[in-house]
């Protein structure tokens, strides 16, 4: 994996220590950067994200990355909020996002016994197998922490369910996304990151 040059996009408001450690366990070094040159030259780009969509988009705009990211041709992986940012918009603060994948993230509705955020281990349903999901099985568990989610759509390759079905893994051209945290999802998460690095 020595030819792999992973760049994790910096300053999107996420704690990336655990993500870097997860990549390190797979033998991949990563560079955390907001530099356009670094990002363009990476073999793989990861867009992490924790926090509010509006805040993250404001940071991306300040760094002029809102136009760069959609133009990338190498595999790009959005994680959690980072996946939602790949879409057109988020209900969270009525935010216009990167506009790569059609659709809008909507807030979960809380119910008795179903608090929001959706937090914890939940099962995956594979909708469309492929290289990205290699080695994953139906009902494998992944670790989620989120309040907004994408409905199933053309990009959905795996789904999960929390009061309503939602997209857990997506793929759109060279853009990939996971709503859960692969760095905290034990073997399933590690396999998924490994698959991404192999793309």
């Amino acid at each position: 994996m020595s030819a792999t040059e992973v760049v994790i996009i910096a300053n999107v408001g996420a704690n990336i220590a655990s993500l870097r450690f997860a990549l390190e366990r797979l033998g991949a070094n990563s560079l955390v950067s907001a530099d356009a040159e670094h990002i363009r030259n990476a073999t793989h780009v990861i867009l992490p994200g924790v926090g509010a969509a509006a805040d993250a988009m404001r940071r991306l705009r300040q760094m002029n990355l809102h136009t760069l990211i959609p133009s990338l041709l190498q595999p790009v992986l959005g994680i959690c909020l980072g996946m939602q940012l790949l879409y057109e918009a988020s209900e969270e603060g009525n935010t216009a996002c990167l506009g790569i994948i059609p659709g809008r993230a909507d807030r979960f509705e809380a119910a008795v016994g179903r608090p929001v955020p959706h937090m914890g281990w939940n099962t995956l349903k594979i909708e469309r197998p492929g290289e990205f999901l290699e080695g994953l099985a139906q009902n494998d568990y992944a670790y989620f922490v989120h309040s907004y989610a994408l409905k199933l759509g053309d990009a959905t390759v795996a789904s999960s369910d929390y009061g309503r079905p939602f997209s857990a893994c997506v793929q759109w051209r060279n853009f990939y996304g996971v709503q859960f945290h692969p760095e905290r999802s034990a073997k399933v998460g590690s396999r998924l990151l490994q698959n991404f690095l192999g793309l």
Partner: protein, 235 residues
């Protein structure tokens, strides 16, 4: 018991790796003497734990400010848990929740039945400083939720460390008032106890420590037994 005679459980990294391999869903690291000693949890080990673990973990122990919480989360912890500092300064719950989101903010409550009432105990990590906080447990649980706690761990002190089962009555009483995930703590001695607390008190998670540390129950065996008892567990 646990609180008055702390066991040394060996190198935490080794234990963390063992529990990870056995299939724990989440680990919680308590530095329970941090608060009574007025210091916060030593951070160096958090990086090492984050490097080892590929499951979520929570750090508890004397976190008294947004900046201390920030350090712990930046080092790779998924959540922070506050207990005595929340009783000293309840606004800390609001501040943490606003800054990091409710999902990171766990409030731990040590509770004891006193004169037929559930009472919150403070500084439980120190047998000399432990005291009644002056608060009713159920009222405190309402307040911490209003202030933005995303999860509550209820540790029933009378059950803690004795492995005779969880305090189902107290956990059930809190469940009725708790709209965020509720974690049962104190009393696990067998898979049957854990199955019982899920079924009867309808908690979202069960926390256990001494029963695993002692080797009396392995997480792998627990998972198998829970599955046989019809409780859904991650394979």
């Amino acid at each position: 018991m646990r609180f008055r005679n702390h066991r040394i459980v060996g190198d935490i990294l080794e234990l963390a790796a063992r529990y990870r391999d056995e299939g724990a869903d989440e680990l919680v690291f308590y530095d329970i003497s941090a608060s009574p000693e007025g210091r916060s949890v030593d951070r160096a080990w958090i990086w090492r734990v984050a490097r080892t673990l590929d499951i979520p973990f929570c750090v508890a122990g004397g976190i008294r400010s947004v900046s201390e919480a920030d350090e712990v989360l930046a080092a790779g912890a998924e959540k922070i848990s506050i207990n005595s500092p929340a009783l000293e300064d309840p606004d800390l719950i609001n501040a943490l929740s606003e800054r990091f989101g409710a999902q990171c903010v766990v409030v731990g409550i040590d509770s004891e039945t006193v004169g037929g009432e559930y009472r919150v105990q403070q500084y439980t990590g120190d047998s000399l400083r432990i005291r009644d906080s002056g608060r009713n447990t159920l009222d405190w649980a309402d307040e911490v939720q209003r202030r933005g706690a995303g999860e509550i761990v209820l540790n029933c002190m009378a059950s803690d460390g004795v492995r005779q089962g969880y305090d189902i009555a107290q956990l059930s009483a809190l469940r009725k008032r708790c709209h965020v995930p509720l974690v049962a703590s104190g009393g696990a001695g067998s898979a049957a106890h854990i199955a019982e607390v899920f079924r009867t008190a309808n908690v979202d998670a069960a926390l256990a420590a001494s029963v695993f540390h002692s080797g009396e129950l392995t997480i792998a065996n627990l998972r198998r037994e829970l599955r046989l008892l019809g409780i859904e567990v991650r394979p």
